[in-house]
């Protein structure tokens, strides 16, 4: 019998919802249960547990890892704005249609092709060891500088492509609307096209920046003692891999909230500018 005030359809939907929650819960419990029960049965579990999930080593190294992570954040913080600006510049260069600026377009296209095609780690090694090899004196031989430059070079090519996709996704009618009002093509780009393009590409852009946050650790290969390097030092000191797990946890503590925050921003923006939300 249906409850008073609840239609047959609503009752059905509620039942349906309860059922799917129940199914999701049960399957999760079973999977986790199996992992917890079976993994310790493996012959090497005892050793793995001691060398990767060692609480003692973790508590002794964690604070050191955290303070090394500050370096990663610093590198990220000065790279990110440079990447945004340079990436946007490249994207705009590639979207310019004036024949006189064709060389600029060509340069931007070649640039993105080259740096998207080289693994980040190679760019870091080549720039990080190559440029200081020119015999630059302090502070211009710092691996921080050239490691960061390498990250900016590589990531701006990804970000430029994301921006360019955003620019091209804005419908031609927007340009017509703006030009018909007498806005110049530069004003149209600045006030009409770019603001819409940037809003659209925030989610893919965030992906790139979460990747950047992680790839900062690659700079450790050319010298700086940031979290990955610190974890390596601790690993050798304790003859134990737990510091790597600690480093992974620290990365997650930052990157997961980052992505959730952007999701939140996007939802808010959508709600603000659109009339109704489709389920």
């Amino acid at each position: 019998m249906s409850q008073p005030g609840v239609t047959r359809r609503q009752a059905f939907e509620r039942r349906q919802k309860r059922r799917s929650v129940l199914i999701a819960l049960t399957s999760t419990v079973i999977v986790i249960g199996l992992v917890v029960a079976l993994v310790p049965q493996t012959p090497g579990w005892y050793k793995v547990k001691r060398s990767f999930f060692n609480g003692e080593v973790l508590s002794e190294t964690f604070s050191g890892l955290l303070s090394a992570f500050v370096k990663d954040i610093q590198i990220f913080l000065w790279c990110a704005p440079c990447i945004l600006i340079w990436g946007m510049t490249l994207a705009v260069c590639r979207s310019v249609r004036t024949p006189a600026l064709f060389p600029l377009r060509l340069f931007a296209a070649a640039y993105t092709d080259i740096f998207r095609g080289i693994p980040v780690i190679l760019t870091i090694l080549l720039v990080g060891f190559g440029v200081p090899g020119l015999g630059l004196g302090r502070p211009w031989n710092s691996p921080y500088i050239w490691g960061s430059v390498a990250l900016v070079l590589a990531y701006s090519s990804y970000v430029a492509e994301v921006f360019r996709a955003g620019i091209e996704s804005v419908h031609e009618s927007q340009r017509a609307g703006a030009r018909s009002l007498g806005l110049s093509s530069a004003q149209t780009l600045q006030f009409v096209i770019l603001p819409q393009a940037v809003r659209r590409v925030i989610p893919p852009l965030m992906n790139d920046f979460v990747s950047l946050q992680k790839d900062v650790a690659l700079i450790s290969l050319i010298g700086p003692i940031e979290i990955l390097r610190q974890a390596g030092i601790d690993k050798s000191k304790y003859a134990n891999f737990t510091p790597y797990v600690g480093a992974a946890i620290i990365f997650l503590l930052l990157t997961i909230p980052e992505t959730r925050f952007v999701d939140h921003l996007m939802t808010r923006e959508r709600r603000r500018t659109s009339g109704t939300a489709v389920r």
């Binding site: 927007q174 018909s180 007498g182 806005l183 006030f191 009409v192 603001p195 500018t273 659109s274």
Partner: protein, 252 residues
């Protein structure tokens, strides 16, 4: 006086092709100040292309488009100063979705005419009030009905104080019950003496508002006459056929 001297807009043998397709095949027309011209014709007859050419959104292949006797279709000319004087309203509104109604209207006056923010906003609010949208000033286009969006688009054009308005099937994307509110605005523009060229499928409206109705067929103006004459005694056989089809479809 020569016709160029009195005409607000003069189209002289305007031609335009997209590849092998000849969309405009030599259009000749003089539009007097404060005159309202309605272009009718089937889809693909070149109405929209003609309006886009007059707004210099499309370059023409041959002929000339004169605004107050000045050839604005001259190759290599900077179109921006002339676009300011010719407003255009599109079938799909083309409002900027990331800006509020007020910002949509005030953008061009600020950036193109160099008005201060206050000046532009005050003028925009006047226009918004005139078009009955005062409670919507701070809303975004997606939060408005189609009729309201189209009125905002008209206000956005009017904010530049244009001398000529080009209306490209501005009611075609609207629900029938929203058409009226937009047409009211066009009536008001006519009573204020605005020179207008409109492409439309609303025959009743074309008859009511225009000084001359022009029938476009395969990129040519086949017939141009005051509405009373045009609808009762169409001269050209094609025009008769077109009007017959429209009547059969119950659109007249």
């Amino acid at each position: 006086m020569s016709p160029e001297m009195t005409a607000k807009i003069s189209l002289q043998d305007v031609r335009k092709s997209f590849g092998a397709r000849h969309v405009l095949n030599g259009i000749n027309l003089d539009v007097k100040p404060s005159e309202v011209i309605a272009f009718i014709g089937s889809s693909g007859s070149g109405k929209s292309t003609l309006l886009r050419c007059i707004n210099l959104l499309e370059t023409i292949d041959d002929g000339a488009i004169l605004l107050d006797g000045i050839d604005i279709s001259e190759p290599g000319i900077n179109p921006d100063p002339y676009r300011r004087r010719i407003g255009m309203v599109f079938q799909n509104f083309n409002l900027f979705p990331h800006m509020t109604v007020l910002e949509n209207i005030a953008l061009a006056p600020r950036k193109v005419l160099g008005q201060s923010k206050k000046e532009a906003n005050d003028h925009a609010r006047e226009l918004i009030a005139r078009l009955g949208l005062s409670d919507r000033a701070d809303g975004y286009p997606d939060q408005l009905s189609g009729g309201q969006q189209q009125r905002v688009a008209i206000a956005r054009s009017l904010a530049m104080n244009p001398e000529v308005m080009l209306l490209d099937e501005i009611t075609s994307a609207l629900d029938p019950e929203l058409v009226g509110e937009v047409l009211d605005v066009v009536r008001e523009l006519k009573s204020n003496g605005m020179t207008m060229l409109l492409a439309t499928h609303e025959m009743g409206f074309a008859r009511e508002i225009s000084d001359r109705v022009c029938f476009l067929h395969q990129g040519q103006v086949l017939e141009c006459a005051p509405p009373s004459e045009f609808f009762s005694q169409p001269k050209h056989e094609r025009t008769q056929q077109f009007l017959q089809r429209v009547t059969d479809a119950g659109r007249l």
